[in-house]
């Protein structure tokens, strides 16, 4: 079971989402799918069409930048972190 650290801002829009979760999954994609199964809506917030990890969401596995196909081990620690960039907003 991987340990996943989730941002508190994500918990604001996904009911009962903890800050730290433990889920099964051998890749980042499987970890996100497992999170979405337990807390529906997580997948849409973290992933864009493709699927790809959203542009301003960073995922790390054991401290290293990760993609959806990055391997996740039983003892892995996964961090999902909103990027510093991304707050500008657009409208005209």
């Amino acid at each position: 079971m991987a340990t996943v650290h989730l941002p508190s801002s994500l918990a604001l829009v996904v009911p009962e989402l903890p800050k730290i979760a433990t889920v099964e999954g051998s890749t980042v994609a499987e970890v996100v799918a497992a999170l979405d199964e337990r807390w529906p809506g997580v997948g849409d917030r973290v992933l864009d069409a493709g699927p790809t990890i959203r542009r301003h969401i960073n995922v790390f596995v054991d401290g290293e930048p990760a993609a959806l196909d990055t391997a996740v081990g039983d003892a892995s620690v996964v961090h999902v972190i909103p990027a510093v960039a991304g707050g500008a907003g657009e409208r005209s």
Partner: protein, 358 residues
């Protein structure tokens, strides 16, 4: 106990609920809600009593929020709000419109989605995306956005939508097929004879007398139609400029509508000469009356975006608008005199009003 009037305000940093009684003299402000997400549009569903708010986070993507308690608590879902893994990524939700027991969402890049379960899941209205003109659609300055959704009041299969910078479309078969409705609308930025699509409609609204009577504020003028958009007639007339964003139609009088002209698109897009005014027609668009009492007549260098003017359905009608500088203005006499509710909100992107009977 009298009715309550709620202003539904979408901003760059969350939704706000601004409340008064029928007198509309004093206001209280609740918010920010929707967790501070950028909110492009907030709508009230008269049938269910729910609020819907569409927007998109730079981090977490586009979604539609729903509140069953007038904005005290919100949930959100974007399940199904996708063109598919091989399609373009949806950047934002620009408009949410409940009608006939459904909810419609207009998105960027332009497309229409429908929810039959109060916003829990969404289905792509593919007929619009499949319109033959789709490969030629080009964005306006705000992007390629579907911003106006105008349902027929009694026929759930009939609807108009407006896309910048593409134009107006109508469906009469529940969204399976759509026809462009832009004849008579200028597209000064395209040389040669007017194309079927490519018009930069900024806001489309329906007059209350019959569904085929519509108004639009366009990048290139103000227009009316009496045949559902098959033929448009320009009614810019004595307005100070043909460029503006918002437009509102009276809830009962088909000859009354409001617009807010701006300076030219290449010259600031703010109040002309820095003097704020809301213009109304009382003769169906044959002429326009300037309403500026109480509004700043100097240094009003703000703009009012396409969703940022709304009205209630009281008598006299209340008109409301929000500015790019976070000011919220109200008129309880149909736009004749104005007062400022607040100057301290984030940049305002949408204003709508709902009358709540307890």
């Amino acid at each position: 106990m009298g009715d309550r009037v709620l202003l539904l305000v979408g901003t760059k940093k969350g939704a706000f609920i601004v409340e008064s009684d029928e007198a509309r003299r004093t206001w209280t402000i609740r918010g920010p809600s929707a967790e501070g997400w950028p909110i492009q549009d907030v709508s009230y569903d008269r049938e269910s009593g729910a609020l819907y708010a569409g927007g998109g986070s730079s981090w977490y993507g586009p979604t539609v929020f729903r509140s069953a308690d007038l904005g005290e608590t919100w949930s959100q879902s974007s399940a199904g709000l996708t063109y598919g893994d091989d399609g373009p990524k949806i950047k934002n939700v620009w408009s949410v419109t409940p009608a006939h027991g459904r909810v419609y969402a207009g998105v960027q890049d332009a497309g229409l989605f429908r929810s039959d379960d109060q916003g829990q899941t969404w289905q792509h209205v593919e007929g619009l995306t499949n319109h033959p003109s789709r490969p030629s659609w080009q964005p306006g300055a705000g992007g390629l956005i579907l911003h106006s959704i105008v349902p027929h009041p009694t026929d759930p299969d009939r609807m108009w939508v407006a896309i910048s910078a593409v134009g107006t479309f109508e469906t009469t078969d529940g969204g399976k097929t759509w026809e462009a409705r832009n004849k008579g609308v200028r597209a000064d930025f395209i040389p040669g004879p007017p194309p079927e699509t490519g018009m930069c409609v900024h806001k489309l609204v329906m007059a209350p007398d019959e569904p085929d009577h519509l108004y639009q504020q366009n990048h290139c003028g103000v227009y009316r139609t009496f045949d559902g958009g098959r033929n448009w007639e320009e009614i810019t007339h004595n307005l100070p400029n043909d460029f503006g964003f918002p437009m509102v139609a009276h809830p009962r009088d088909p000859k009354v509508a409001w617009t807010i002209p701006h300076s030219s698109p290449e010259a600031g897009r703010y109040m002309p000469n820095g003097a704020a005014a809301v213009w109304r027609t009382e003769d169906g668009g044959d002429s326009w009356i300037r309403g500026d009492e109480g509004l700043p007549q100097e240094n009003a260098w703000f703009n009012v975006l396409r969703e940022a003017m709304g009205r209630d359905d009281l008598d006299p009608v209340g008109i409301y608008f929000g500015t790019s500088t976070g000011q919220l203005w109200a008129s309880a006499d149909a736009g004749r005199t104005w007062s400022c509710i607040t100057t301290t909100l984030p940049p305002i992107w949408s204003v709508d009003a709902a009358r709540i009977s307890d």
